[in-house]
């Protein structure tokens, strides 16, 4: 028997408290009134003799209470032979690593062979289970005692593209060990990648009735490996110009070398470059893709290497060449500066994929906004009723509108489409300092994240709008709303309470103008500029709020449809479980090509150091090995007696309460008698 927290035994000193209460405290000299001291003589009795323990039972209970409390905290345990250790009945867990790195040098097949050989010693009373692991656990069998079934499961293990993490297997073993009374033997068959170890080694610990047996399939040496680390390519291309593509190639455990790096588009190698790589270094390669074909293009960056893991010598990217979207820019006939600055900002940035159609208010009567990505109303006065109605229907149906308010719009009491009251117009003299600046800007909003808070922009004229239910994204120093957003039906509207020219403000002259125009345009048009490359085991959203229930067509890298019809209509997300190109045809008709690649941490083939492997094998809390009577190794595990002590503590505390209250009554009665006397 031992204690897991022996320092709590110091609490036993508190036993002195009941001793004090019962032995010393009880000796209270309560004066006894008496007629006369005439016949008394002073006598002092020895301190030991007269200090008798009172209420022995209560005293004993109190001492027991404190002792049990201290012992419970000290967490006593006894060593008991492990469940699987004495009777030979074991739970054998075969855990095979099928992560991406196991593609190297036929490691997976070696692991399967080793697993099969371990199963040859599988006893009739044993129970076994076969699982594979990368970042997640896949159970290939339930716990069974059939060696043949386990062997079949081992043979059926397929290569995966995920990233291995040994923490997952430790967590699984923990839950397994708690649910089975047997001793658990965890056989791990893996290439023992150092990058798969958790940051804290303690995360690999398992209960006492489990122990690791590690089977490494790697040579134990740090194998050199070159790989394409990342590719930076735009998701969509709108113009017939060369597209810049950046790739990073790297090596681990490598010597200095010169490698051929190629760009391949739709199976055709377009360009090859020689790249010099430093030892264990990385290099950036720049390619310019000539005019790509319309539609979805499958691109790939390859590095020519002769290492043991060819799977990471390429990285996919997708490129969607399409026509740019159109923006309907509506302005008053005599105010063209706003359109000028807006168009200039839109064209000066990266390939935004949007062009503007400038129209005056008079020209809008017959226009349908449906064919535009979004509509800009730049300080317009009265717009034709038919166009306003069409615009409202457009926004209700999911379209977007950007409204800039200037002196013309301020004549009207309400903001068109946005339906908010204009309460006031403010003018400031340019010669003086009475201009406003932006005070609070929601930098987390996708339309404003790169505007740098409109720093230094002077707003001379602003139109004060009652925000009502609208969300205020930016305010001026006098708390006047500068940018407001409101969701209308399925669409949304942004209101800029100044203009895009440099009359009401000097925004077009500042660096924040172009990002504001670009980001607001992307936001309102719904163009997703994020790259379409994902790591294996990432998830993509299949349904948006608008197209719930509509089927999404998914095609995996093998050209098969991994989702059933029901799943295609109901699944919210899709797990990209394999490397390659995944095609998605969404409910709104949008066609996407997703490039999926293995996590590049798998490319580092540095194995776990030998010493660490030995430490890992010896993990298992409090596990002890002793020699049995017949010389055989007998495993012992500590069994905590904490619960028993707590139970006894409860019983004793209950009894103490009962007896204590009884004695209290006796004391009270005695006191009452004394007082009466």
């Amino acid at each position: 028997m031992g204690f897991l927290a022996p320092w709590f035994l110091g609490g036993l000193f508190v036993i002195g408290l009941p001793v004090f209460l019962h032995l010393l405290q009880q000796h209270r000299s309560v004066p006894l009134p008496f007629s006369s001291l005439m016949f008394f003589e002073k006598r002092t009795q020895s301190s030991v003799k007269h200090r008798r323990l009172k209420y022995l039972l209560l005293f004993a209970m109190r001492v027991a209470l404190i002792a049990l409390l201290a012992l419970a905290f000290a967490n006593p345990f006894v060593n008991r032979a492990a469940a699987g250790g004495t009777d030979g009945r074991k739970f054998i867990l075969i855990a095979v690593d099928n992560s991406f790195s196991m593609r190297a040098d036929d490691h997976l097949n070696q692991a399967k062979q080793q697993a099969a050989s371990v199963l040859s010693s599988f006893g009739g009373a044993d129970v076994g289970q076969v699982i594979t692991f990368d970042a997640q656990i896949s159970q290939l069998t339930q716990p069974v005692n059939s060696a043949a079934e386990l062997r079949t499961a081992v043979q059926s293990i397929k290569q995966g593209d995920g990233r291995s993490a040994y923490t997952t297997i430790a967590q699984y073993v923990k839950s397994l060990a708690q649910s089975t009374p047997r001793g658990v033997e965890v056989h791990i068959f893996s290439d023992m990648q150092n990058s798969s170890l958790p940051p804290a080694f303690a995360e690999l610990s398992v209960p006492g009735n489990a122990r690791y047996i590690l089977h490494s399939v790697s040579s134990g040496n740090a194998e050199p490996n070159w790989f394409v680390e990342s590719v930076n390519a735009p998701r969509s291309v709108y113009q017939a110009k060369k597209t810049r593509i950046l790739a990073v190639v790297a090596g681990t455990n490598t010597e200095e070398t010169v490698a051929d790096v190629s760009m391949v588009l739709n199976g055709k190698t377009l360009e090859t470059k020689k790249v010099k790589l430093a030892p264990n270094g990385r290099a950036t390669v720049e390619f310019f893709l000539p005019d790509a074909a319309y539609g979805l293009n499958r691109g790939e960056i390859r590095i020519a290497s002769h290492d043991k893991l060819p799977g990471d010598d390429h990285m996919y990217f997708s490129l969607d060449r399409k026509e740019p979207g159109r923006i309907l820019f509506v302005h008053e006939g005599r105010q063209r500066w706003g359109a000028f600055y807006y168009r200039a900002a839109l064209n000066s940035g990266a390939d935004a994929g949007l062009n503007t159609d400038d129209v005056t208010v008079d020209q809008t009567s017959g226009l349908s906004p449906e064919k535009y990505s979004f509509v800009v109303l730049s300080d317009v006065g009265t717009i034709p009723a038919t166009f306003e109605q069409a615009l409202q229907r457009y926004v209700q149906g999911g379209g977007s509108v950007l409204i800039a308010l200037g002196p013309v719009a301020a004549i009207h009491p309400r903001v068109p489409v946005f339906d908010a009251a204009i309460t006031e117009t403010r003018y400031s003299d340019r010669s003086g300092d009475r201009f406003q600046t932006a005070a609070s800007v929601d930098a987390g909003h996708p339309a404003l994240s790169r505007t740098n808070g409109f720093e230094g922009v002077k707003f001379y004229q602003t139109v004060k709008v009652d925000p009502g239910q609208a969300r205020v994204l930016a305010r001026l120093t006098d708390r006047t709303p500068l940018i407001l957003e409101k969701k209308i039906g399925e669409g949304r509207a942004l209101v800029f309470t100044s203009t895009f020219d440099n009359i009401s403000n000097d925004l077009p002259l500042h660096a924040s103008f172009v990002p504001f125009v670009e980001q607001s345009a992307s936001y309102l048009s719904g163009i997703d500029q994020t790259a379409a490359d994902f790591a294996v085991d990432s998830y993509v959203d299949l349904h948006s709020a608008k197209d719930q229930g509509a089927a999404v067509e998914v095609v995996d890298p093998d050209g098969k449809r991994p989702l059933s019809l029901r799943e295609a209509a109901s699944a919210q997300t899709l797990k990209l479980s394999r490397e390659g190109f995944w095609e998605l045809r969404r409910a709104n008709g949008r066609h996407e090509l997703l490039a999926v690649h293995a996590d590049r941490r798998e490319s580092d083939l540095t194995p776990v150091p030998k010493g660490t492997l030995e430490l890992w094998e010896n993990l298992g809390q409090g596990q002890q090995k002793t020699n049995g009577p017949n010389g055989a190794v007998e495993q012992k595990q500590p069994v905590s007696l904490w619960w028993y002590f707590v139970l006894a503590l409860l019983i004793v505390s209950l009894a103490e309460s009962l007896f204590g209250s009884r004695y209290l009554v006796v004391e009270k009665q005695a006191m009452v008698r004394k007082e009466a006397a």
């Binding site: 309560v30 006894l32 008496f34 007629s35 016949f39 007269h50």
Partner: protein, 295 residues
């Protein structure tokens, strides 16, 4: 049956001293013949030769006509004695280990004596004292005397320390006529001193009776633990062990009682120890029986 009610605790629960006294004395009378000392007052007692200074109203003129000698006719009533009760109300009298403390017991005793005297047309009076005279009711046979006495007894509350000399000296000033003096006290004083203080009363021809009231706990205290004993009169404290109480205290109090008794006997005083744990009428009866036998 009546005896059951005469238990001190029962007496203590009876409100009104007159009722208590009547209960005690009626029970006592019912069980006893008339006492020669407390006879009926209208009964003829004796003739005595006239001497100078005697009241001529008491001369039996019939005898004078027949014998030409003047004789005074005396009735028992005229031989009635004057009873003065000296009630000690010192702080120590407050002690009691039972429902009735020594003070209450002394009150009952005093009330019983007063009631009995009243029944016998004896002139009873009372002096209440601790270290000085607290109250004095002159002995008398007037109407309402019993009520006055009982009121004085009722009002008597434990006071300070006992000092026999001063009140008894005072008592001597009041007592012009010989009679019976009943001293009720717990006598926590040196017997020598007590007797010395009381003796002068006897010299005047009074008959002195000492009723020594003690609680059972005072006679045989029971202690389980060492205890700090607090003197009720002086407030002095002393740690006392059960061992001492068990082995030495008893002999000391016995010696004290014995000394009191001896010294009283030698001084011609009547001494009687009253244990408050004992029924009052029972104790009185016993005392009177002894007293009768002594005469």
């Amino acid at each position: 049956m009546l005896q059951r009610f005469l238990d001190p605790s029962v007496l203590g629960s009876i409100s009104g001293l007159e009722l208590v006294a009547r209960t005690v004395v009626d029970g006592f009378i019912a069980g006893m013949h008339r006492s020669p000392d407390f006879g009926f007052s209208q009964e003829f007692a004796e003739y005595r030769a006239y001497s100078e200074g005697d009241d001529l109203r008491h001369v039996d003129w019939n005898v004078y006509a027949r014998t030409e000698r003047a004789y005074l006719k005396r009735y028992r009533g005229e031989t009635n004695t004057q009873i003065t009760i000296l009630l000690d109300v010192s702080a120590s009298m407050k002690y009691g280990s039972q429902s009735v403390n020594k003070m209450d017991y002394a009150r009952f005793l005093a009330a019983a004596i007063c009631y009995m005297s009243n029944q016998q047309r004896d002139a009873a009076g009372i002096i209440v004292f601790d270290d000085e005279v607290k109250n004095y009711v002159q002995p008398s046979t007037r109407q309402g005397q019993l009520a006055r006495l009982l009121h004085a007894i009722e009002k008597a509350e434990p006071g300070r320390r006992t000092n026999f000399e001063k009140p008894l000296l005072h008592c001597l000033q009041f007592l012009h006529r010989r009679g019976i003096i009943v001293l009720i006290s717990d006598f926590y004083e040196d017997p020598e001193k007590v007797i010395k203080a009381v003796e002068p009363l006897r010299f005047h021809g009074n008959e002195v009776i000492l009723f020594h009231i003690l609680d059972p706990q005072e006679l045989r205290p029971k202690l389980n633990d060492p205890v700090l004993v607090l003197d009720m009169e002086t407030d002095d404290a002393m740690e006392v062990t059960p061992d001492y109480v068990r082995h030495e205290y008893g002999s000391k109090i016995d010696a004290h009682v014995s000394a009191m008794s001896d010294r009283a006997q030698r001084a011609g005083l009547d001494y009687y120890l009253l244990n408050t744990g004992r029924p009052l009428d029972d104790a009185l009866r016993e005392y009177l029986t002894i007293r009768q036998g002594r005469r």
